[in-house]
C-alpha cells in the first residue's frame, strides 16, 4: 500500500461466482476453457471433440464475438494487440477481439463423461474471459481434470472481478511463506 495512492472502491468478493448447473442428481455439467487442441486432449477430451470444438469456435468466432464500432472501444475491453477488424454484410466494418481459446462442456452421468464444444472464448483486458454462450468468467487457463468447473452464471458484461488479476490463487506462492520467515 503506497500511502499516496488514492483509495479505490473495491466491490465485494474476490472470486467470481460460479453456480452449479445440475440437470438432476445424476448429471452434472461443467466447463473448461482451452487455449489449444493439445491442451484439450491432455485434459482427457477425445481428440476429435477437441478439434471440432476448435474448428467450430474459429468458424463462429466472428459471428458470436462482441462487435465494436471503433478500435478504441474494443481495446478498452480486450486490450492492445487483441483486436482485429472484420466486416459483415449487415454491419459493414467493425472491430472484434481475437479468439483466445474455446470452451468444452462436460456432462457426467451414468458413470461416463460426454464432451461437447461450447463455443469460442475471448480474454478481456481485466483478466476475465468472455464466452458468448457462458458470459463472463474469471480464472486462468487450466488444464488437467481438476480444471473442470461448473458453468458460469455471471452473464453481465460489467463483470471482470474486482481486481486486475483474477487468476486462481493456486498458481501463486503460498501465504504460509509470508507467515514464516521474513528473512534474516
Amino acid at each position: 500500500m503506497k500511502r499516496s495512492t488514492t483509495a479505490t472502491l473495491v466491490l465485494m468478493g474476490l472470486t467470481p461466482l460460479f453456480l452449479t448447473a445440475c440437470d438432476d442428481d445424476s448429471k452434472q455439467v461443467s466447463q473448461q476453457n482451452f487455449a489449444s487442441v493439445d491442451a484439450c486432449t491432455q485434459a482427457g477430451v477425445p481428440q476429435a471433440t477437441c478439434q471440432k470444438a476448435y474448428d467450430d469456435a474459429q468458424a463462429n468466432a466472428e459471428k458470436s464475438e462482441p462487435h465494436f464500432k471503433t478500435y478504441q472501444d474494443c481495446v478498452a475491453q480486450y486490450g492492445a494487440d487483441m483486436c482485429r477488424q472484420g466486416t459483415s454484410a449487415t454491419e459493414g466494418s467493425f472491430w472484434g477481439p481475437l479468439m483466445t481459446g474455446f470452451l468444452i462442456s462436460r456432462m457426467l452421468g451414468g458413470g461416463s463423461a460426454m464432451y461437447y464444444p461450447a463455443g469460442p472464448i475471448f480474454r478481456q483486458s481485466s483478466g476475465s474471459y468472455y464466452s458468448p454462450t457462458g458470459g463472463v468468467f474469471g480464472g486462468s487457463y487450466s488444464s488437467g481434470s481438476s480444471g473442470w468447473r461448473t458453468a458460469s452464471a455471471s452473464g453481465d458484461g460489467s463483470a471482470g472481478g474486482s481486481r486486475a488479476i483474477t487468476a486462481s490463487r493456486g498458481g501463486f506462492g503460498s501465504a504460509s511463506a509470508a507467515a514464516g520467515s521474513w528473512g534474516g
Binding site: R3, T5, G160, F172, A179, S181
Partner: protein, 214 residues
C-alpha cells in the same frame, strides 16, 4: 461511506488492540542511531521525528499469523508480524520506487512466470538481493506470494479499502554490519480492474527498543 452500502466491515484492529501499543492516529519515533553510525551501510534512511500512523493495513495469513502494517507520515511503514497474538517480527520499510504499469495486461505480467518479481536475485539501486521466499531452485523463478490486505484510516479520514498483493521478499547481508540484513520487498498491488501498481520498499529489522510508540 461505502460501508453503509455494503455492510460495514469491522476490521480486526477494531476488535483487538494493535500489538506493541500501536494505534491508528498515534505516533512512533524510530531510533536512527544505527543509521547515523553507518551512513553508507543502508540503501535508505528511516523517517525522522515523530511519525503519525496515518493508515493501518492488516493481513490474515492463516494459521493464527497476522501482519500489521502501520503506514507513517513520510512514505514508510512498520510491519509487525504476530503469531497467536505474540509479536515475532518487526520491520521498518521505506518506499523506494513505484512502477505504474500502463495497462492491466502489463500489470498481470508482473505476477506471471519470468517476471522480475520472483527471480532468485534482483538488482536494485546498485545492490544484489537474494530471494527469501519460495522453494524454487537457485536461478529458477518462484511465484509471488498472494494475500489480501485491508487498509483502514482514522475515523473521518480516507475511505477504507482492500487490495490484493503479489509479493516477494529479498535480502542482502550488509558488508559493514555482518548479521544485519537489508530487505527489498517487491509487491504488485492490485486495487481493482483498472487500478494497480508495483512498489519497491527497502527495510531492515527493528526491535521494540528501536521504537518509541506514543
Amino acid at each position: 461511506m461505502f460501508g453503509s452500502l455494503f455492510g460495514a466491515k469491522s476490521p480486526e484492529s477494531a476488535a483487538h488492540p494493535l500489538p506493541l501499543g500501536f494505534r491508528l492516529g498515534g505516533a512512533v519515533a524510530i531510533d536512527d542511531v544505527l543509521f547515523k553510525a553507518h551512513p553508507d551501510a543502508f540503501g535508505f534512511e528511516p523517517p525522522g521525528g515523530n511519525q503519525l500512523i496515518e493508515a493501518l493495513g492488516t493481513v490474515d495469513l492463516g494459521g493464527g499469523t497476522h501482519l500489521y502494517r502501520m503506514y507513517l507520515t513520510d512514505d514508510a511503514w512498520i510491519q509487525v508480524k504476530t503469531t497467536s497474538g505474540a509479536v515475532d517480527d518487526i520491520k521498518l520499510f521505506v518506499f523506494s520506487d513505484t512502477v505504474n504499469p500502463p495497462n492491466a495486461s502489463a500489470f498481470r505480467q508482473w505476477a506471471e512466470q519470468g517476471s522480475e518479481l520472483g527471480q532468485s536475485q534482483v538488482e536494485f539501486n546498485g545492490h544484489t538481493y537474494d530471494r527469501v521466499w519460495g522453494d524454487a531452485p537457485q536461478g529458477a523463478w518462484a511465484p509471488p506470494v498472494v494475500y489480501d490486505e485491508a487498509v483502514t484510516h482514522p475515523k473521518g479520514g480516507e475511505a477504507d479499502f482492500e487490495l490484493t498483493h503479489y509479493s516477494m521478499l529479498y535480502q542482502r547481508e550488509l558488508a559493514e554490519l555482518p548479521g544485519r540484513f537489508e530487505y527489498l520487498f517487491i509487491t504488485a498491488e492490485d486495487y481493482g480492474p483498472d487500478h494497480f501498481d508495483v512498489v519497491y520498499s527497502l527495510g531492515t529489522d527493528m526491535t521494540i527498543a528501536d521504537l518509541s510508540i506514543t
